[in-house]
């Protein structure tokens, strides 16, 4: 059941000059969110920002009553969010969209690029609990883009690629040996820039495994009311907010 409800800012943890994690405390019991689901978050006190902003849920703890988002500043809304102070009120519509499928066994590969890292920790946790063996690659331009805490190492075998080679394997995620000669996975889960996800989808097809990708789109509502957020599938236009954001990439046209 979706709802629109108020949260209060607990803290904004700055990971770098443009990336932060914002933690919110619910004013009502917090609904358990599944990995890949997202929320439509109000940007308070910012008259130039008219619509809410869609953000993947990074963490959700119904016991503590908190929810968190992993955000990169790209414009006015995300910039304002990065300046929110503890105690400020933020209205959130959640949980929205579908979620990644949780396999219960086998080695699975999780690939996050840019803010596509957002849902990956929660996903790895769920997969591991279910009995699968998660391996994760995080890609960035340089070491400054990579923010992985001990929590990641606790649930997944971690790998990093950077385009400038300042951390991990030099190159893009698809240059990693795990996606080449060492490929040995039942499934690929990915979230990040479209070109990266498309390249992973091509590898998955070649290897004969399913690739689940979490897409972004321009959204006005986030819950199926406006039809602004379509992606072309083999079955015509589908709303990313309700039929996604996670899609089996064989279902997407031109992927």
């Amino acid at each position: 059941m979706k709802k629109v409800t108020d949260f209060h800012v607990v803290e904004v943890q700055h990971l770098s000059h443009d990336t932060f994690i914002i933690v919110l405390q619910g004013t009502e019991p917090v609904i358990a969110v599944l990995p890949g689901q997202f929320a439509e978050v109000e940007v308070p006190g910012s008259p130039e920002v008219f619509l809410r902003r869609p953000l993947s849920v990074h963490g959700c703890d119904p016991v503590a009553g908190t929810i968190s988002f992993y955000v990169k500043v790209v414009g006015k809304g995300t910039a304002r969010m990065s300046e929110l102070l503890p105690g400020e009120k933020v209205s959130v519509i959640y949980p929205l969209g579908n979620h990644f499928t949780i396999l219960e066994e086998g080695r699975v590969l999780l690939v996050g690029g840019g803010t596509g890292v957002a849902p990956m920790l929660m996903l790895a946790n769920k997969l591991k609990k279910a009995g699968a063996e998660p391996v994760m690659i995080i890609g960035g331009r340089s070491a400054a883009d990579i923010h992985i805490s001990d929590a990641y190492h606790a649930v997944a075998e971690m790998h990093v690629t950077t385009e400038d080679g300042s951390l991990g394997v030099k190159g893009r995620v698809t240059d990693h040996p795990l996606l080449k000669e060492e490929f040995n996975f039942n499934r690929i889960y990915t979230c990040g820039p479209d070109p990266m996800m498309k390249a992973l989808s091509a590898i998955a097809r070649e290897k004969g495994v399913v690739c689940e990708a979490s897409l972004e789109n321009t959204m006005a509502c986030g819950f199926g009311a406006c039809l602004c957020c379509v992606v072309k599938t083999t079955d015509g236009h589908k709303c990313v907010c309700t039929e996604g954001p996670v899609f089996d990439t064989t279902y997407l046209e031109n992927w």
């Binding site: 059941m1 979706k2 709802k3 629109v4 109000e42 130039e48 920002v49 008219f50 619509l51 809410r52 209205s91 519509i93 789109n217 321009t218 959204m219 006005a220 509502c221 986030g222 819950f223 199926g224 009311a225 406006c226 039809l227 602004c228 957020c229 379509v230 992606v231 072309k232 015509g236 236009h237």
Partner: protein, 304 residues
């Protein structure tokens, strides 16, 4: 407590709060948030004769105090609506109006013939004003002869409530309104979106795949109020006002300008519970101002 009931040309609404086509899905999208049956009425997504895929991505651009959309009437066609969607929403205890769109007069007529047969649909909103389809739609609503032609043709076959939705992208909306009234419309709704463009200066490209799109939200409210007032002074049939209504005060302003009922559009995206808040707010306003019925407030703006 004030009486919220209002008659809009033979259709009795339990209160004046309706939802605007294309912003409320078919209703079930809001079941988690509100009791849809509490509303005065809902207008479902633009429905055409054939299935339409709509326009390409990107279809939406945020703008100051509003947004542009170019959804392009994506829908599965009237037969699909009648077979699959209608049975799933006919339980709502509110008036369900179908927004009818098309690019040829014959198509409008055929859609209305199908809708005539649906017992639980007490009326249609004839959309002669959609800016997001290549041919037709708005073309009908922007000239008197074509507005007359399509209204007349639909009136001849459609026997229930005929609400005609007007385009603001015209020089004189009052003239179009009069023509549509002459041809037998039971009520008028206005305004549809205003044609606009958003440009990305960095890439030098339009933001929308269609270049132009329809502007909605608070940015258009003053224009919408002006048009409701002009049309109210030109016709006798009831008016349903919309355009940037975000709260109860906005709704009251439309009623004062001459609207008997209102539709809430873009505001639903920001707060899916906003319609109920507007409803409660109207009630509170009437009580606070000792107004016994909504009807007394219609067109009650005092000009001097």
């Amino acid at each position: 407590m004030a009486d919220l009931k209002i008659d809009i040309g033979g259709l009795l609404l339990k209160n004046p709060v309706m939802t605007a086509s294309g912003t409320f899905g078919y209703g079930p999208e809001f079941d988690d948030f509100i009791n849809v049956s509490d509303l005065g009425g809902i207008v479902v997504k633009g429905t055409t004769l054939e299935h339409r895929e709509g326009n390409k991505y990107p279809r939406m651009a945020e703008t100051p105090a509003g947004m542009l959309n170019s959804v392009g009437l994506q829908n599965k066609g009237v037969d699909y609506f009648a077979k699959h969607i209608y049975p799933a929403i006919s339980h709502y205890d509110t008036h369900i109006l179908v927004n009818v769109s098309g690019s040829r007069v014959e198509d409008y007529v055929k859609v209305c013939e199908v809708l005539n047969e649906l017992e639980g649909i007490p009326g249609i909103e004839l959309n002669i004003s959609c800016p997001n389809v290549k041919e037709g739609g708005m073309a009908f609503g922007t000239s008197c002869p074509s507005a007359r032609e399509v209204t007349k043709a639909v009136r001849a076959v459609y026997h229930k409530h005929l609400m005609v939705k007007l385009s603001p992208n015209v020089t004189s909306i009052a003239e179009i309104a009069k023509v549509v009234e002459d041809e037998g419309a039971d009520s008028l709704s206005l305004i549809n979106t205003l044609l606009g463009i958003a440009i990305n200066a960095e890439t030098r490209r339009p933001v929308l795949s269609t270049i132009t799109g329809g502007l909605s939200g608070p940015a258009i409210k003053p224009i919408a109020l002006r048009m409701v007032w002009q049309v109210a002074n030109a016709v006798k049939i009831p008016i349903v006002g919309m355009g940037g209504i975000m709260n109860a005060t906005d709704a009251i302003e439309f009623i004062l300008a001459g609207a008997s009922a209102i539709q809430v559009g873009t505001a639903n995206f920001l707060d899916p519970t906003v319609t109920i808040k507007i409803l409660r707010g109207i009630e509170e306003y009437l009580d606070r101002h000792n107004v016994a019925t909504v009807k007394e407030l219609v067109g009650a703006m005092e000009c001097c």
